[in-house]
């Protein structure tokens, strides 16, 4: 069974390089907070969406559209219109998190493919089958919290295709079930489509070192010889019982290149690259490496090995220049 490569695009140039370099699907979002990467200057208006679909379809590739934040009572209409616009643009699937919106989409556009977003927090087959029974979802993206044996059992107990995260920023919390960002800034992925938003970030040079703050809360302090990373709330250094360390998560990237044959054997349908907020150069390079790796494993899973050049390439792009298998790998703690 082939493993679909699902690549991110925050702009048309990024979508084009993803398609040109071997993505099977590219996922995008509209230019507002109907998706979980609602960053200024990023994402697609309607003409760009139409062009994205035209470009990808002309080359036999798919476009998926993320509508994966939770509509509020007063803003429901905009999310509903976003579903309408996506259907109109002819995207191949929409990626949803809110159950009410799924009901709307499945009733209004019964032929439109629905994917359950990672923000839908489905970590077991009963939850996935719930969405399948009620709204006919055809694929679910799993939160990055399950071990591979747990994923394997889940795949066997659902008719829904499973998509796993393969590379990019590592969310250590169950997506859709983390409001740390709104606790500090008032805005969370669920409601505002952002985590640790840039407008709440402050950098300040102090006698103790370079300090990063989010919403006024000190997330980390760097000495002159340390690389300072983007202050994502869960990736700061904190003090617990007198010990200062990455108490929640190191700034590392998920990289599961070595698991490709295992994913194929287990019947995983697609692997997702994180990073709609990243540049076209990132998209191009990650897509190239993953295309080569998947092709190599498809040709011969038995003899598949991770090419060191791939790792070198990906390490340059990784957050914090570190890699991890995250929860897929049981000893992770």
């Amino acid at each position: 069974m082939s493993l679909e490569l699902v690549c991110p695009a925050g702009s048309l140039p990024a979508l084009k390089v993803a398609v040109d370099n071997g993505a099977d699907c590219v996922y995008i979002g509209f230019r507002d907070n109907t998706n979980a990467r609602a960053f200024a200057g990023l994402n697609f208006d309607l003409p760009a969406t139409n062009e994205a679909v035209r470009y990808a379809h002309a080359r036999g590739k798919k476009v998926l559209l993320a509508l994966n934040t939770f509509p509020q009572t007063s803003t429901w209409q905009r999310w509903q219109e976003a579903v309408d616009n996506a259907a109109e643009a002819g995207v191949d699937a929409i990626i949803l998190a809110d159950a009410g919106l799924m009901r709307y989409a499945s009733r209004t556009y019964p032929k439109l493919r629905l994917h359950l977003s990672v923000q839908g927090s489905a970590t077991n087959y009963e939850a996935i089958n719930f969405y399948h029974e009620h709204f006919g979802i055809q694929r679910a993206v799993l939160p990055r919290v399950l071990s591979l044996p747990q994923v394997e059992k889940l795949v066997k107990s659902t008719p829904v295709e499973i998509e796993l995260f393969g590379f990019g920023g590592l969310c250590v919390m169950v997506e859709g079930r983390c409001v740390l960002s709104s606790y500090v800034t008032g805005e969370s992925p669920n409601t505002a489509g952002v985590c640790s938003p840039a407008k709440a970030v402050r950098w300040q040079q102090t006698p103790q070192g370079l300090e990063s703050r989010l919403g006024g809360i000190l997330l980390d302090r760097y000495s002159a010889d340390e690389n300072a990373g983007y202050p994502t709330l869960c990736k700061g250094r904190f003090d617990v019982n007198g010990e200062t360390y990455y108490a929640i998560e190191e700034p590392a990237s998920l990289n599961t290149l070595e698991l490709i044959p295992e994913m194929m054997r287990m019947g995983i349908s697609a692997v997702k690259i994180e990073g709609r907020q990243r540049s076209p150069v990132y998209v191009e390079q990650v897509t190239k490496v993953w295309r080569a790796a998947i092709d190599s494993a498809t040709k011969n899973a038995e003899s598949y090995t991770v090419n060191p050049a791939w790792m070198t390439q990906l390490n340059k792009l990784a957050e914090g220049q570190q890699n991890t298998l995250g929860a897929y790998h049981r000893p992770w703690k």
Binding site: N124, M173, S182, K333
Partner: protein
């Protein structure tokens, strides 16, 4: 409005749990949520123990609801879930859509960890049998008011009104990580931290509380001063989250405010003396959750 006690979010010793619920049976609370909502490894109380306590509380006149875990990963988590769903006596608080699937057609409560942000989703859950919902902790009064203007008929609304806020769930156990132990061999170190393990910023300010796989606020969400506003908006139940000390006193203060036998100022002052951490109420005012907006008397 009714007063509820949420599920215990921490890991406490068995004897203490029995004592705790004996006190609760005699306390002025209307509804008690029971069960392990955070981590399946916690086992000082087994399923049968929860049922024993549930029966005793029901005999004392309390409405009992059994809460499910929020993060359900393994087949054994699902087995526990099925036993809860099929208990036949008590309503269930669902904290995962898998639980909603198993409870469909039965009476259930939508827990705070189901993402219910609009009347369409709430209506869908009502259609499946939900009789009450607990709003997500990050929801503001204004947004709650918007939903309640279009809420399904007969649906009760509950608000998490006191306690450290449950903010996130993870695959990682942060308590085990603190002790440099693998999650699979955590040695049940949560037992040593009956209100979680406080995480401070590098400038020494309490920020979060590590509670196994759950991350909480270090500050205590406190909406005691908001009870009148809640009533106006249409809230039916206010929830106090259990803590090892002073839970009964805290419930009593909420009760007296609900009954109008204590002024807001008096209750606020008395509650302040029982608080072991800073208060916060920002979420209710559509601000950052950590903020304290209401001026404490």
């Amino acid at each position: 409005m009714k007063l509820s006690l949420g599920p215990i979010l921490y890991y406490w010793q068995r004897d203490f749990l029995f004592q705790f619920y004996e006190q609760i049976a005699a306390s002025p609370v209307d509804i008690v949520y029971l069960g392990e909502a955070v981590c399946s490894k916690r086992h000082t109380f087994r399923f049968e123990d929860w049922l024993t306590v549930a029966k005793k509380l029901a005999e004392s006149g309390k409405e009992v609801v059994l809460s499910t875990q929020a993060l359900i990963e393994s087949e054994s988590d699902l087995q526990t879930l099925r036993r809860l769903a099929e208990n036949g006596t008590f309503a269930v608080e669902t904290n995962d859509m898998g639980a909603v699937r198993l409870m469909s057609g039965k009476k259930f409560v939508v827990g705070p960890h189901i993402n219910t942000y609009n009347p369409h989703t709430l209506g869908l859950l009502a259609g499946l049998g939900a009789k009450r919902w607990v709003m997500p902790v990050e929801m503001s009064r204004a947004k709650l008011s918007d939903i309640l203007a279009e809420k399904p008929q007969g649906m009760e609304t509950e608000v998490f009104a006191y306690g450290r806020l449950p903010l996130a769930f993870s695959a990682r156990c942060f308590t085990a990580r603190h002790y440099n132990l693998p999650k699979d061999d955590c040695q049940f170190r949560c037992l040593e931290h009956p209100v979680g393990l406080t995480l401070k910023t590098r400038d020494g300010k309490p920020f979060l509380a590590l509670n196994g796989i759950q991350t909480q606020s270090s500050s205590i969400y406190n909406l005691l001063a908001e009870l009148d506003n809640m009533k106006q908006v249409g809230v039916d139940v206010v929830r106090v989250s259990p803590q090892p000390l002073h839970t009964v006193e805290i419930l009593s203060l909420f009760r007296q405010r609900l009954d109008g036998t204590l002024t807001g100022a008096e209750a606020g002052q008395q509650l302040e003396r029982l608080m072991t951490d800073e208060p916060c109420d920002g979420y209710w005012y559509a601000k950052a959750g950590i903020e304290q907006i209401e001026v404490v008397c």
